[in-house]
């Protein structure tokens, strides 16, 4: 018996027959629907970010021009002109190269802000929560969802009865007699069916990857795609092993199907839901409302104690002398209030970070219970939709805020301006993304585990298929 014989059978039963065509068409259509949604969303984000950046840059240039004029002329036409408190720099989280492959948590977190003396860590990210919560709560359709949730289901539906169907009807005995065994036939048929399913998915996904998104470098995009596809295939390998093993170990078609569907529901839905709930129960996030309360207490204290705070701040900056220019007091007051709020909220913010870290660690352990969680986390992080990327951006933006505050603070409190050189020395915000290597390294342990489990299942299934026919028929 040759592989060609099996392929000839599968060509007629599956590949060029209704089941295979329906499966492939459904996959391609869903991939295209997911890609359409993903690409539209990325394009809209990029467009809005570009408009935001252009507007921010224009006002920053205007601010610089005003300072340049003051330095040149030696006097300002208005005391409000070119005040350091009014430096406002854009900080943008651009979509990742493969952002259209996974929305992940990207639809929840902010991607733009302005770094300025008016901001504090609490109000640095505001006014982004406009999205309708109804579709948010339902979740979106993206390629990662299709790979993690739908592909196993299609694999199961396509191949659960390759052996059981033959066995239930007695064909397996005829196959065994004619071929001498059933292992090649079963193995090749499983491989062909699942191969067709994954070929349809990979091809459609490759087409989606080749079509560029507005901001992405095609080279980076394809590199990320290859990594993404590699992870998806490891995950597919896991399900291939599950299907092969269930087909060999369980006798009846409906038992094979029920066991595989139950495993799918457990891995894809139950384990992540229970894992997430446990992580939240064990390491609950500190109250955001408490965070807010601390910030407000800080603001009130700062307003009350402006004189003391000013004196205290200037004591740390003896080089500064308070200008007698008629600048509104609230520049300095607001700056000091923000600084005070920052001081008071830092422990809460650290608490947030710590609890997030603890939850992330627990989830990263719990993911080993569910290959779907491993795959989802790895695929989402390669596509740049993970929480870590959003947090990384927020941390970098906060760091940029602190950096700006350190550079303009003394001048703001002393009601002075900074020099043009000092302004030019302020570093503009540019998000530093993780490299693909970093991403793969951080997912390496669970992926190796997943590959080992997949390999183990496949090896064991092959071993069981080589068992005496008595155990298979």
């Amino acid at each position: 018996m040759t592989t060609a014989t099996t392929f000839e059978l599968e060509r007629r039963l599956f590949v060029f027959a209704a089941p295979g065509a329906i499966a492939a068409a459904a996959i391609v259509l869903l991939v295209l629907a997911a890609a359409w949604a993903g690409k539209t969303s990325v394009a809209e984000t990029v467009r809005a970010q570009e408009a935001f950046q252009a507007e921010q840059n224009a006002s920053l240039s205007e601010w610089r021009d005003a300072l340049e004029t003051i330095e040149r002329d030696g006097e300002a036409s208005s005391p409000y002109n070119a005040r350091p408190m009014n430096i406002s720099m854009p900080a943008i989280l651009p979509p990742a190269p493969l952002a259209d492959f996974a929305s992940g948590a990207a639809d929840l977190h902010p991607t733009t802000t302005t770094i300025s003396g008016w901001s504090n860590p609490v109000n640095l990210f505001i006014e982004y929560e406009f999205d309708n919560p109804t579709p948010l709560s339902l979740g979106g359709l993206d390629l990662t969802f299709l790979a993690v949730v739908l592909m196993p289901l299609i694999m199961i539906a396509a191949s659960f009865d390759v052996l059981a169907g033959d066995r239930d009807l007695g064909r397996a005995r005829l196959v065994a007699l004619q071929a001498g065994h059933v292992r090649s036939s079963v193995w090749e048929r499983l491989a062909i069916r699942n191969g067709v399913v994954w070929a349809a998915f990979s091809t459609a996904a490759l087409v989606v990857a080749i079509i560029p998104t507005p901001n992405a470098d095609i080279g980076a995009r394809l590199a990320h795609f290859l990594a993404w596809m590699f992870v998806a295939l490891i995950y597919g390998g896991f399900w291939f092993g599950c299907i092969a093993l269930a087909s060999v170990v369980l006798k009846k078609g409906e038992t094979v199907a029920a066991a595989l569907f139950a495993a799918w529901a457990a891995f894809v839905f139950a384990a992540p839901a229970v894992g997430g709930a446990f992580a939240e129960a064990f390491y609950p996030p500190p109250s955001r409302l408490a965070f807010l309360s601390e910030m407000r207490k800080g603001e009130v204290a700062a307003v009350r104690e402006t004189a003391e705070l000013t004196a205290g701040f200037l004591a740390d900056h003896p080089e500064m002398t308070v200008s007698d220019e008629a600048v509104p007091g609230y520049y300095a007051n607001s700056f000091l209030a923000n600084r005070e709020a920052e001081k008071r909220t830092t422990p809460v913010l650290e608490g947030f970070e710590a609890s997030r870290e603890q939850r992330a660690q627990l989830v990263s352990i719990l993911q080993f219970l569910s290959p779907a969680m491993i795959a989802d986390r790895a695929l989402t992080s390669i596509a740049g939709g993970d929480v870590a990327r959003a947090m990384n951006y927020q941390r970098q933006a906060r760091a940029a805020l602190f950096d700006l505050r350190d550079k303009i603070g003394p001048a703001v409190v002393a009601k002075q301006r900074i020099s043009l050189a000092e302004f030019d020395a302020i570093e503009r915000f540019g998000f530093e993304d993780r490299t693909l290597t970093d991403l793969l390294r951080s997912s390496a342990a669970p992926l190796i585990y997943l590959a080992l489990v997949a390999g183990g299942l496949i090896t064991y299934a092959r071993k069981r298929l080589a068992a005496p026919l008595e155990q298979l028929l």
Binding site: T2, L13, R171, R173, L174, A176, L177, A179, E470
Partner: protein, 253 residues
């Protein structure tokens, strides 16, 4: 061609086949008669290598089945009670696939001729097997068996459920094969067909071959009387208690 030496198979405490000694020479047809659970299907499964013996051995063309599972299968053809085909494929496509599995490649016209020779109507050979009657599926099974040109043919109640005409056709084919020098081992409940096809008739009860009759020496009525007499003898498992793997053919029929 087919030989069993002290061939034994147990399932837990149940002895499905108990020290069977049997020889089926080329040109000979042995029909095994017995109640459900007597060990007929177990015997066939042991020759096919679908079950492993607990003791003793089955031989095909001098080779021990357990030691040469692939070689012995090449020398065997098999027609089960229900020939299961791929319903999405036509008769000719099914035949082509099953022959290819055993390494036999035939042209489309050869395959069609084989099916027609096995008795399948010419207008049915390119129709999907999902539309076939049981008799038509059996004929595809016969075609598969014939095309393999195996020295020995194992049949597990192949006549069960066939209409008289289809059963007659199959009997004629089997007689021809026997006369052509094939060794035939057939499990059946049908005393009269057993007499028609068999050169010898073995009567099995509770896993043991308790009698062997010369089919030519007795008429069908006499064979039936002997068979019933054996069935009413004390001892052995009650009828209807099947060994695992031994299907309840009565219920299925």
């Amino acid at each position: 061609m087919l030989a069993a030496k002290q061939l034994t198979r147990t399932f837990g405490d149940l002895k499905a086949l108990d020290h069977l000694d049997l020889n089926v020479q080329a040109g000979e047809a042995v029909c095994l008669l017995g109640a459900n659970g007597a060990g007929k299907t177990t015997t066939i499964n042991l020759f096919l290598g679908f079950l492993e013996p607990s003791a003793g051995a089955a031989f095909v063309d001098g080779m021990e089945v357990a030691k040469h599972p692939l070689e012995t299968k090449k020398r065997l053809a098999y027609i089960p009670e229900q020939v299961a085909l791929y319903p999405q494929l036509s008769g000719v496509e099914n035949l082509d696939y099953f022959l290819r599995l055993s390494g036999v490649k035939k042209s489309a016209s050869e395959l069609s001729d084989m099916l027609i020779a096995a008795g399948l109507p010419a207008d049915a050979i390119n129709k999907r097997a999902s539309n076939y009657s049981k008799g038509m599926r059996q004929k595809v099974g016969v075609a598969i068996a014939l095309a393999k040109e195996a020295g020995a043919l194992l049949l597990d109640e192949p006549l069960s459920g066939l209409d008289p005409s289809a059963a007659n056709d199959l009997c004629a084919v089997l007689r021809r094969l026997r006369d052509d020098g094939r060794a035939i081992l057939m499990a059946t409940h049908d005393v009269f067909r057993a007499k028609e096809i068999g050169t010898r008739i073995g009567i099995m009860k509770s896993g043991r071959l308790i009698d062997t009759l010369d089919a030519a020496a007795l008429d069908a009525g006499e064979i039936e009387r002997v068979y019933l007499a054996h069935m009413h003898e004390a001892g052995g498992a009650p009828n209807g208690v099947n060994a695992p793997g031994e299907e309840d053919k009565g219920a299925a029929a």
